[in-house]
Symmetry: C2
Subunit: 231 residues, 2 copies
DNA sequence: TCCGAATGTTCGTATTGACGAACGATGGGT
DNA sequence: ACCCATCGTTCGTCAATACGAACATTCGGA
């Protein structure tokens, strides 16, 4: 049965709330961290899906299980859940608890999210000069947003162009953020403020973004790709 | 691996509790772990964590709620769940069903996985010439792995260097994969096989990786950053 | 052919998740 | 000082999740 998916799983679902159309959330900016907003990159913006996860869970479970070449019985045993439970889940009957699904994801050795996520892609293109930019406080530092967090991915993609001069000290972001930098051209000192590293073209570095960090161009025409990963 | 998975959440739980070794981040210098298969996006991706998700869910819920500036009451209303339920969840009491947590993730406008995932960062550095490479079948195409999927992040980071010659046709990867390309130098035709786009330095494109796609260098010394996102 | 061992499905049962409502605690406004 | 609004927690109650066990079904070997 499980056809419609008005979130609620239980009896008197109705008190307003209802569907979670995923859009009734004004979102109010939130997302904090100065960055935010933009939206230059088309893709939808909300976190989740309309349909609800259970349908996807059912198919994903079966698919991953077969891919792993396990029988329903064996998976149930390994995960420590009852065969019956697993069977019902694969039949899209029922709304598993997190621990149950977690156990299954572990036993299957697949990321938890994979069992729940729908999500769909699309082609996007940003030309060199285009795209929303963050004018930054100074003219010698320019960050172009290539791709902001789509529905489920928690990362932003920036193209950085910077000129020598003063270092750019970034305030630490939210906890759990990781920044990845690949230098395209020029030369740069980048990394944690207390221990930055000099990069040459082609070099790569990753560092925690929730600590103070710098980005200081050392040559004219320094450009880099920055991936900010929101954990 | 993943021997028995006694993750039981219910009554008699706690026998031997959970282990879920699941390997964490070796990370040392050049992550990888063999990474196996060629062709980007080889990695499978470990699934889970040792502690079990509920502890993290509790803190994540509270954190995200406060970040969004919502009161417990308001979030409960928006998500369509009972205040009491939410309160208990934030107190790490209880094991929410997927739909419940889903509703909360939607109302909070955060990816579902974020509420369940632990994960931790670290500084990593890969010099231009170094890092595990994927020799590819031809000499004129070289992909250097900058960062493979850490525990829970679902993306790989590559530095691509290619020479003009023949196009590189990639077989479609797993469903849901998205590839992002930022051109650093040279010129390239890239994108879905039936409709590739020519990029100049600084240009960016994203396209579904689960469809056939090409990467054809048009100039000598073409280099690009490739982010393969495993959805 | 019969039998045994697998697979995945359906039964009852009880533990437990989610609910509404009532409860102290804060904090503003008049 | 008072009152009212709002915050977050705790209290009973009911439905549903998850369980074990019995149940169909298919497959392979003697």
């Amino acid at each position: 049965m499980t056809e419609t998916g008005p979130v609620q799983h239980n009896r008197r679902a109705d008190t307003a709330s209802q569907a979670t159309p995923a859009s009734d959330v004004p979102a109010s900016g939130t997302t904090a961290s100065g960055a935010a907003a933009s939206e230059g990159t088309g893709v939808a913006g909300t976190a989740a899906e309309t349909t609800g996860p259970l349908a996807h869970i059912a198919s994903a479970l079966r698919r991953e299980r077969q891919r792993a070449g396990m029988s329903l019985t064996e998976l149930a045993r390994r995960a420590g859940v009852a065969k019956s439970t697993l069977s019902q889940l694969e039949s899209a009957a029922g709304n598993p608890s997190v621990e149950t699904l977690w156990a299954l994801s572990v036993a299957l050795d697949v990321p938890f999210a994979l069992l729940v996520q729908p999500a769909r892609p699309q082609v996007q293109l940003v030309r060199a000069g285009e795209g929303p930019r963050f004018a930054a406080d100074r003219a010698d530092y320019l960050a172009t947003v290539l791709s902001t967090c789509p529905p489920n991915a928690r990362r932003d993609l920036y193209l950085i162009t910077a000129e020598p001069g003063s270092a750019r000290e970034s305030d630490p972001h939210m906890p759990g953020v990781v920044e990845h930098v690949v230098l395209s051209a020029g030369r740069v000192m980048v990394g944690p403020s207390d221990d930055p590293t000099e990069l040459a073209p082609g070099d790569y570095i990753a560092y925690p973004g929730d600590l103070p960090h710098v980005f200081e161009a050392l040559e004219h025409g320094t450009t880099a790709v920055l991936v900010s990963e929101h954990t």
